[in-house]
Amino acid sequence: MKYLPLLFAALMRKKTRTLLTLLSVAAAFALFGMLDAVRVAFNAPQSVIGIDRLITSSRLSLIQPLPYADLARIQSTPGVEAVTYASWFGGIYQDPKNFFPNFPVEPESYLDMYPELVLPQAQRQAFLKTRTAAIVGEALADLHGWKVGDKIPLRPTIYPHRDGGEVWTFDLVGIFKAAQPELRGSEKQLLFHHTAFDEGRDIGQGTVGWYIVRVEDASKADQVAQAIDRQFANSAFETRTQSEREFQLSFAKQIGDIGLIVTAIMAAVFFTLVLLTGNTMAQSIRERIPELAVLKTLGFTNRAVLLLVMAEALVLLLLGGLIGLALATLALPVIGEASSGQLDVAMRPESWVLGIGLMSTIGILVGLPPALKAMRLGIVDALAGR
């Protein structure tokens, strides 16, 4: 502790340089904090409820539809308790940046499949019996100021309306809530009738995007999934049945392997950071050779000088890094907002731990070479400027 003034003196020697270094460290770790939160959000299980739910989709690709006729065969597979289905519509409300998932579903069986979507009984009835009806989650309704009775126009991206309309219009008859706060992400969707979808579209009638299966016994989910896929093996429409969580992950992978992208970006950022701070440290030590020689003259041991320089590097990295992670913590809610709540991003303890680990590693990496140089410094030569 008593060496703090020395550490302080070293850092305050060139205030601007220290500040700039701190800033670049902070920027790198702010970026790290945000990207890591995004990576975790993409990989995190969205729900703990769906452990008994499976998703059956085309083996070829998620966007490849399956025949409607598969429904009965899946239903009759041993171990299957209930089946429903949904498709990807990809409609846009006013502006593409308002993106939210909108799915044609079979209303009754779909709502039964997802008990965590809580809809008042009267609204449920209205949804079931109105062909043009749609329901949305409360979070989405709040976002756009929708209320029951509104008409919601969606501009199709894949399926133009058969009647030549460049717009599909739905009657909002219900607003559902997520059963648990951590499932608020599921309130960001719009559901409407699959029959209306099938009748309104020009292409792909008689197909569905994917089937959702509830198994009788969650512990046998794997066997049931295999049994379903076996039925369609070697058919024109081979299937892949996955747990809901796996499905969400592979859905995210359609966008790209977020983990890999994040790792690649961070590797580039940290590589630059190591070069930058490494160079700064080396330069700072070079300039301070006479001062370090004086410390040694006064009786500071080689080891003390080594530790002093190491401490300097670690303080720079830890201070800058913690500032960066703090900034990320502040920025993440804004990012979550900007993604219309699609990304449930927040700084998690794992990110802090990983971040502090990286700070220490980089600190040691950039501190060690100048620290060794300072340690080996010959006093007489250094004092004489040799």
Binding site: L6, A10, E291, L298, F300, T301, N302, R303, L383
Partner: protein, 259 residues
Amino acid sequence: MKPRDAEQIGLNLRPETMSEVTPTPESHGPEPLVAIRGVSKVYERGRQRIEVLHHVDLDIPEGDFLALMGPSGSGKSTLLNMIAGLDLPTEGSLSVAGHRIDRMSSTELARWRAANVGFVFQFYNLLPALSAQKNVELPLLLTRLSGARRRRNAAIALDLVGLADRASHKPNELSGGQQQRVAIARAIVSDPTLLVCDEPTGDLDRHSAEEVLTLLQRLNREYGKTMIMVTHDPKAAEFARRVLHLDKGILVEQADIGA
């Protein structure tokens, strides 16, 4: 500077003249504080062999104020650095207060220097980011003294060199002479056995040089500090008790100037 304060940082007050306390080098009194026997220093550069010091014998009694003079490159700094435990001889032995410093490891030497040697350099060598007070406290970081004690002792040392009112100033807010006085305060704050000064006035104007030399002389006369000072300046050497000349690595002449 009140005498009692100086005592608190270990500086013993000795108002009596040093001649009564210190035997001259020729006298057969007790062991001299510094005993240098047959010390040589050789630098090898490829095939070239540079003998910087050639079989130097030298005794420095306690309480001495020795000025080392000689042409540039004669080995003055080299000899001073060896006495101060910064450099090791190629040959010969060096003992200070009975300790064979030529046999110590670099860590032992570092500890020994911290406890026994105060340094004053030509270019002051203060840490620019630290206040005068913090610069003076530096050597005390290597002791077991408490923070309060360190601050107190540093304040006393600053007071002793007449810079109590400049304690919070950074080196670049002080004149050369003032910086050198801060450096002297730093050198004496841990009450070292020896004070070594390598051209302490080499970078100062006449007036500041005299202030610094008077201060060094006072530390020697009033507080009994043993001092070795390298200088080019005969006027500076006059402040010492005796002057030795080095020429091409050989001690050639001794002159007692007397106090």
